[in-house]
């Protein structure tokens, strides 16, 4: 058949009902004759069905919220829209140029000016001590300060003069110099704002000139550095070199200049090239935090609602890093002005973490009367981080006490007390642990007492332990607090482990338990592994947070799962339980007892629980020990005694199938492997248990 392209096209259109009547007739006629095309048509329909059956993906629900804030930013920016990157680079370059021009002029006028500059120093008493440059300070030209750029006119903040001027210092006392006029004539030439041409007010202006010069020099250096880094970034971007782009962003984080902030803002908005867009954006966000100026904070806050949550997540840590006073001040101002609860909450949380005491006042105000409970709680917590007077928090707790609905705030107060770690608050925390009506507040109190580490809390913690539900989070917190304060890792009583098989029940007391699990190939059958998994899940789940555990799996080799035994806190247990299927993968090997036992006996475990089907056939030559001491091998007793580090009790759980001999002690003959496990338990102060596994 001549199924050319045209036919194929018709076929495809026919499947969609998009043919003209003539075409329909034609293709139908063709289909009658051509089996291939009938198959093709069916194929098209199947594929179409499959594609149409793809699930409808939905965007992140937060998308619309982010869009709203992006739109707001967009409309704010609409007026001052400029081309990306290039604009930044150009403005940076322009800044360099302007600064250079200024410098050329000021350099020309500098020698003439100097005496005049010194003149006011002698007359103006209040600024004199700071301005008169001391040689020692002056020698350091690199007084780094981005802020000075803005503070030029304030005489108090003028930084020491560059070296070349020290030489002229002796000239200072000279009250009138003929050069004054010259310099005055020179001044207007330099296009620097703030410099006044008339002689009387020239002093401030002069001082400004000198400071300005230095500030400008600094600014120039920064702008140059920024421009260089930006161009490096551009080159990397064009090449699609992700490492280069990231490196450039990291470098610019060290350049505290407005150009860097503007540049980083663009990076956050536009990303770089290639798949690393978000990584780069996150890097830029972190860099903004590092720069930490007011502008940096502003951009970070506007980024917080940026489309990609991956970037939004990077904002709080970046905000926390802000160390510049005006950056923090800006955040405080935003906190006071903002109406968005999410933003206020973020700011309340991060202001505390900046550790800047300036934030204390707004936090106090918010902690007292903020309407939104989350913002208020965050503010309270920040009070703890900022080191408020402990009395404030103690009083606050007392005030909130009667109100049962205010537990969330009490929890925040209690957390803040823990963060504050002031010994005088121990009574309040103990009271909270004993009497607070809300369990989560009591839990928080336990945690805070642990942070505080005051020994007075021990009796109360012990009492609370008695009534607490074992294996609850509260219990865990109590034990953790007790362990921290008393420095006794065995704080609390040793707890029982309940071993159970279909027929037996046994309680074992242990502080540090080690599970040995046979993962040889024979364990792969009849749901043995699944049974062990369930048992372990049960036993681990019932452990108390002050008990330790570890797991070893063995076949002919041994694998210790955790390097150190873990405390059975709910988190750790949950992690282990989640990993159990991975841990319990069987190997295609025969089990070997010797390496695993020597390793297990060498740990600090006080209890060893062995799960095995025992079917490591104790063949002569293969095995390194046996029950009888035949063939010159050590007996189990000899072996364990030789290798034992601690007086660990060994409990063995044999997983048996009906094809094997009965484990009943009095039944004879007994399989040697089962006998071995029994001996292992009885020789080591433990017990032997068994579980039947019927045939599949």
């Amino acid at each position: 058949m001549n199924c050319d392209e045209r036919i194929m096209e018709l076929l495809s259109a026919y499947a969609d009902g998009e043919c003209t009547p003539d075409e329909t007739a034609e293709i139908r006629a063709h289909l009658e004759e051509c089996g291939d095309c009938r198959t093709r048509l069916a194929g098209i329909k199947t594929a179409r069905g499959v594609m149409r059956g793809l699930p409808k993906r939905a965007p992140n629900p937060k998308h619309l919220v982010r869009l709203r804030s992006a739109l707001e930013r967009e409309s704010e920016k609409e007026e001052r829209r400029r081309p990306i990157y290039i604009a930044v680079a150009v403005s940076a370059a322009a800044a360099v140029l302007i600064v250079a021009v200024i410098l050329i002029f000021t350099k020309h006028s500098a020698p003439a000016e100097l005496p005049v500059v010194k003149l006011p120093n002698a007359g103006e008493s209040e600024s004199a001590p700071e301005i008169t440059p001391e040689p020692k300070i002056v020698v350091k030209p690199e007084t780094p300060s981005g802020k000075q750029v803005k503070d030029e006119s304030a005489p108090g903040k003028v930084s020491p003069a560059p070296e070349e001027k020290i030489a002229e210092q002796p000239v200072v006392p000279a009250p009138s110099e003929p050069k004054t006029a010259d310099s005055n004539a020179d001044v207007p030439v330099a296009p620097i704002p703030g410099v006044k041409p008339d002689g009387t007010t020239a002093q401030d202006g002069r001082m400004g000139t000198e400071a300005e010069e230095r500030a400008l020099a600094e600014k120039k250096a920064l702008a140059e550095k920024a421009a260089v880094t930006i161009s490096e970034f551009e080159t990397a971007r064009e090449k699609g070199d992700s490492a280069g782009q990231i490196a450039a962003v990291r470098t610019i984080a060290k350049v505290k200049s407005p150009a860097s902030v503007a540049f980083l803002e663009q990076v956050v908005e536009k990303g770089g090239m290639g798949l690393n867009a978000n990584a780069l954006k996150r890097e830029a966000v972190a860099a903004l935090g590092e720069i930490g100026t007011k502008d940096g904070a502003r951009v970070l806050l506007s980024v917080y609602n940026y489309p990609s949550c991956e970037i939004a997540f990077a904002v709080p840590p970046a905000l926390q890093k802000i160390s510049d006073n005006d950056g923090v001040e800006y955040m405080i101002q935003r906190f006071d002005e903002s109406k968005e609860f999410s933003e206020r909450r973020l700011l309340a949380e991060t202001l505390g973490r900046t550790g800047n005491r300036a934030a204390l006042e707004p936090m106090l105000a918010a902690a007292a009367k903020e309407k939104d409970i989350y913002v208020r709680a965050a503010a309270i917590e920040s009070l703890g981080r900022l080191g408020v007077e402990p009395d404030v928090l103690v009083k606050m707790y007392a005030e909130l006490k009667g109100n049962s609905t205010r537990w969330y705030l009490r929890q925040a107060v209690v957390r803040a007390l823990g963060l504050l770690s002031d010994d005088s608050t121990v009574d309040t925390l103990i009271k909270a642990l004993a009497k607070d009506p809300h369990s989560l507040v009591r839990e928080e109190a336990a945690r805070s007492l642990g942070r505080l580490g005051h020994p007075d809390a021990i009796p109360m913690i012990k009492r609370a332990l008695k009534s607490a539900e074992p294996a609850s989070r509260f219990y865990g917190e109590l034990v953790r607090a007790g362990v921290t304060i008393s420095e006794d890792p065995m704080f609390g009583k040793p707890a029982g482990i309940k071993l159970q098989t279909a027929e037996q029940n046994l309680s074992v007391y242990s502080n540090n338990v080690l599970f040995l699990i046979d993962v040889s190939s024979s364990m792969n059958h009849r749901g043995k592994m699944e049974w062990i998994r369930r048992e372990l899940e049960r036993v681990l789940g019932a452990l108390r947070p002050n008990q330790q555990y570890n797991i070893m799996v063995f076949s002919s080799s041994v694998k210790q799962i955790y390097q150190w035994p873990l405390y059975a806190t709910p988190d750790e247990v949950a992690k282990t339980v989640k990993d159990l299927p991975k841990i319990l993968t069987t190997q295609k090997e025969i089990s070997d007892w010797q390496p695993v036992l020597s390793k297990a006996l060498g740990t600090a475990a006080d209890t060893i629980i062995v799960f095995s089907d025992g079917s490591c056939k104790i063949k002569p030559g293969k095995s390194n020990m046996n029950t009888t001491g035949e063939n010159g091998l050590p007996t189990v007793k000899e072996f364990t005694e030789k290798n034992r580090l601690e007086q660990a009790r060994i409990y063995t759980v044999a997983l048996l199938t009906h094809s094997e001999p009965s484990p009943d002690e009095h039944a004879t003959p007994c399989g040697e492997d089962v006998e071995f496990m029994r001996a292992l338990a009885s020789e080591n102060g433990g017990a032997f248990l068994y579980q039947w596994f019927n045939k599949e």
Partner: protein, 247 residues
């Protein structure tokens, strides 16, 4: 005289089309949730919400910034799900799709004054989305990051479609997810200009005319490209069918 007649008939044709569009777009309308809306806002928006997409966009052309944002927000709410799905099927990466979706909305806002009332809103949006998606694909390809397409996996799909129906066994579900991942994997491997048509017509179920409107090409072009695209798809999909049947 003749000119006038043509003009009138064009206008009528457009009206008819517009009606058709409005009905069609309802199918895509998917009211999202705006929790943090304030009271005053709501009053105004109920008003706006009664309008069709096209009416909104026409209003948006002359609106001040705030109401323009409001309108774009409403349009975005109506279209974000279908657009996201469309973009995702094109680029095969959730993150990228989300970023692009945001870009589409931002473009809608920025270029609100350029909206021509002759165009259907959904067409306009899909056109923007197509261009942005193709650009993004080209960019990533140019920088050798083809692995992008491999990101596709169906585990994160909408819950409704992943939740098992009553008769399905876990194996069936796994197989279905496999199948979806395979299909998505093939989609992103098809050359751009064919993929667009395939996604529009076969995944989205658009008619040839609609697809032609979005891509600004003739219907005949859509027909031939779709046929080609299907051949591509078949070629890559055939081995998997056998594989799936073997299971």
């Amino acid at each position: 005289m003749g000119g006038e007649f043509i003009l009138i008939s064009a206008v009528t044709a457009y009206r008819i089309k517009l009606n058709f569009c409005t009905r069609k777009s309802e199918q895509f309308a998917n009211p999202g949730v705006y929790n943090n809306r304030q009271q005053g806002d709501l009053l105004m928006s109920t008003d706006l919400r009664a309008l069709t997409d096209e009416e909104l966009l026409i209003r948006c052309r002359k609106a001040d910034n705030e109401s323009a944002r409001e309108i774009v927000g409403i349009v975005a709410e109506r279209y974000s799900r279908p657009l996201y799905n469309y973009i995702y099927r094109m680029v095969g990466s959730e993150q990228l799709a989300e970023d692009l979706l945001q870009d589409v909305c931002m473009r809608l806002y920025r270029h609100r004054r350029h909206y021509r009332s002759v165009a259907k809103c959904s067409t306009w949006l899909y056109r923007i989305a197509t261009n942005l998606a193709l650009n993004a694909i080209r960019n990533t390809k140019r920088h050798g990051n083809l692995s992008l397409s491999r990101e596709a996996d169906e585990t994160g799909a909408d819950y409704a479609s992943v939740l098992p129906s009553r008769e399905e066994t876990p194996d069936d579900i796994a197989a279905r997810r496999d199948l979806q991942a395979i299909v998505q994997g093939i989609l992103v491997e098809i050359p751009d200009k064919y993929r667009v048509v395939l996604v529009l017509c076969d995944v989205e179920g658009r008619s040839y005319i609609e697809a032609a409107d979005v891509l600004e090409v003739a219907v005949g072009t859509i027909r031939s490209r779709l046929s080609r695209a299907r051949e591509y798809f078949q070629k890559k999909f055939a081995p998997h069918i056998r594989e799936l049947e073997a299971k």
